[in-house]
């Protein structure tokens, strides 16, 4: 079933088993055949030698008494040996005495082939083996015997061996395959089950399943155990994570609700405060004015001055309330994102400022074509505040220079408003953007301390930020991003 999958462990194991058995068997068969060929060759030569000696000793009298008939009869007995194709008796002088040929006459070797003193000579030809023996009678050489035998028996035997070897090889391969297949069931079934479980887990993310651990070999049992242990841990960690997440969510919901409630409370509080504070303020201002108008003549100069101060204070309070309402509005209103031309806004603000105080000699450098993405009304509030601040904090200097522009730093577009006015101590730079935080007294420079807080909040709501650099009496530069 898995044999067709080239990458499966099962087929690799099976192939390995079969290959190993095939190699071992092949080597064994080869060694066996080689050994048998060698020994069989030796035994052929030995048999031939025995045959030659028997023939030689039987032919002694024939040679001694020069009797070709009996010698011929002796050699004719070789007809019973089917492998012998030729034989010859030589007389002592080396001349053929009688010959025997099974089929066709064949060439006979000279007896000189036998070295003097040699007991026997044999050599192999193409498909046959030849043997030459001296015939010794009473320690005197009286002739020679030569036998040529075909090696058909050897080759027949080799063929038979190869045939049997091939059969054994085939049978062994089939057996190895069968053993390997049955062995695979025992060994690989657990691995398959494990892989199946792992696949199910990675697909379904179901960590509750477990790999079966029964009837598994030792090492695989460890593996399955470790795998299941891992699953237990994953499941547990999963549960813990889920619990932690649930708790966090719950806590966030709780906090959000609390925050929303607090925020709402704060907003309505500040709104109502701002709104409700106006009414008494209006009364104070209105009645102060009525007193001045109706009874001003009967009042002393001091009293009139006091009333003037009351009215100035109420006006300032009114401005403060306006600013607080603005700040609250900035926090609550929706932001519309559009392309805004900051240059135009800056020029408009400049024009307003010049109209309000035409006595000032202020030089303004406003860069052309500065644009930003954001809410046009809120960005106007930002520029209004920053440029008004610059205008205000240069008022002690006889001449002033105010710059607005943009620059690029690390791919961010940074806008800046720069003046050469009073500046501030950089140690307090962190306090600049808090509400009601002022670095200068109201007598020095008037203000409510809400402007930069408003600017900061607007830029935060746009996803930007603001920071400032300055030194006392050396001007200040406000940078911001949108």
């Amino acid at each position: 079933m898995h044999l067709l999958q080239p990458a499966s462990l099962a087929s690799r194991l099976t192939r390995m088993n079969v290959l190993v058995s095939a190699t071992a068997l092949f080597l064994a068969c080869a060694a066996f055949v080689a050994f048998d060929v060698i020994t069989f060759r030796q035994s052929i030569v030995r048999n031939l030698s025995v045959q030659a000696q028997v023939l030689g000793s039987t032919s002694v009298a024939s040679l001694v008494f020069n009797d070709r008939d009996s010698a011929q009869k002796t050699l004719a007995a070789l007809h019973a040996a089917p492998d012998v194709v030729s034989a010859c008796l030589y007389s002592a002088d080396g001349r053929p005495f009688v010959e025997y040929h099974r089929d066709v006459p064949r060439g006979l070797p000279p007896v000189a082939r036998l070295q003097p003193g040699e007991q026997e000579a044999y050599w192999f030809g193409h498909g046959d083996v030849m043997l030459l023996d001296p015939i010794v009678f009473q320690s005197e050489p009286i002739g020679y015997i030569y036998i040529e035998s075909s090696l058909d028996a050897l080759w027949a035997r080799v063929r038979l061996y190869l045939f049997i070897s091939a059969g054994v090889l085939l049978g062994a391969l089939v057996a190895a395959l069968a053993v390997s297949l049955s062995f695979r069931k025992v060994t690989l079934q657990p691995i398959h089950a494990l892989a199946e479980v792992a696949r199910a887990i990675s697909q379904d993310r179901n960590y509750a399943v477990r790999a079966p651990a029964g009837g598994v070999p030792l090492e695989l049992g460890d593996l399955v155990g470790a795998f299941n242990g891992m699953l237990v841990q994953i499941e547990q960690r999963d549960r813990e994570l889920r619990d932690a997440r649930d708790e966090l969510e719950h806590r966030v919901e709780l906090r959000t609700a609390e925050l929303a409630a607090a925020n709402k409370e704060l907003e309505s509080f500040s709104y109502s405060v701002s709104h409700d504070l106006r009414a008494p303020l209006r009364s104070i201002d209105g009645f102060s004015l009525a007193l001045l108008q109706d009874y001003g003549d009967s009042l002393g100069a001091d009293a009139r001055d006091y009333f003037g101060r009351i009215r100035a204070a109420t006006r300032r309070m009114g401005l403060l309330i306006d600013d607080l309402l603005n700040l609250a509005r900035v926090t609550r209103c929706e932001i519309r994102h559009e392309r805004v031309n900051l240059t135009d806004i800056a020029r408009a603000v400049e024009a307003d400022l010049r109209k309000a105080d035409s006595s000032r000699a202020v030089e303004c450098h406003i860069q052309e074509g500065v644009e930003a993405e954001g809410d046009v009304h809120l960005l106007r509030v930002v520029l209004d505040n920053l440029l008004s601040n610059a205008w205000k904090y240069t008022s002690r200097h006889p001449s002033a220079c105010i710059e607005f522009g943009q620059m690029n730093s690390n791919g961010d577009r940074i806008y800046y408003v720069k003046d050469d006015g009073a500046g501030f101590d950089p140690a307090y730079a962190g306090k600049l953007f808090g509400a009601f935080q002022r670095l200068h007294g109201a007598s020095e420079f008037p203000g409510t301390g809400v402007g930069l807080a408003t600017v900061h909040r607007i830029l935060l709501r746009h996803g930007g930020r603001i920071w400032a650099e300055s030194e006392v009496e050396k001007g200040a530069t406000f940078y911001f991003t949108v």
Partner: protein, 202 residues
Amino acid sequence: MNRHSTIPSIAASPRDCALAFRAALFLSALALLPLVSRAQQDRPTEYQVKAAYLFNFSRFVSWPSGPSSAVSRPFSICVLGRDPFGPILDATVAGERIGGRNVVVRRISQPAQAVDCRVLFISSSEDSRLKDILAALDKFTVLTVSDIPGFNEHGGMIEFVLQGDRVRFAVNLDSASEARLTFSSNLLKVAVAVRGNQPRGE
């Protein structure tokens, strides 16, 4: 050594079993090949062949052990009656040894003189008194050979027979066993006729 049963003329070579000598002999035999082929052409005479056979018989026959088989005594081949061999027989056996004993040729005139003989050739000149001779030899362990026709019928052991111009021989085993002589089966194989039976357990 290197006895060529077919060519007795070159059989008269020095006897020694030394290897080098044997090789030298083989070479000399090769050198003599023209001579051999000529000898083959004018075939060896009848009595050259018979002389060789007479000597060779003794190599296929075993005698019972007795005082005459002592190594110190020569192995005698005797000729009774008129000698048909002349010097051929002496030349044939010159330098030969059988069972470590020197081979000598003796010519005798009376059967009684054959007491020390191992092989006795009875010349055809003794045809008329053959019966008496064989009777006289009854007590001796001597191999009797002759070319007298009917020698075997009269109790002789080996009888030369001529087949065409080839010298063959016939054997009488009964006579041999009476004289306690044992013939090699190889010898019987080349015999043209065998009379009697080889005793069992030879």
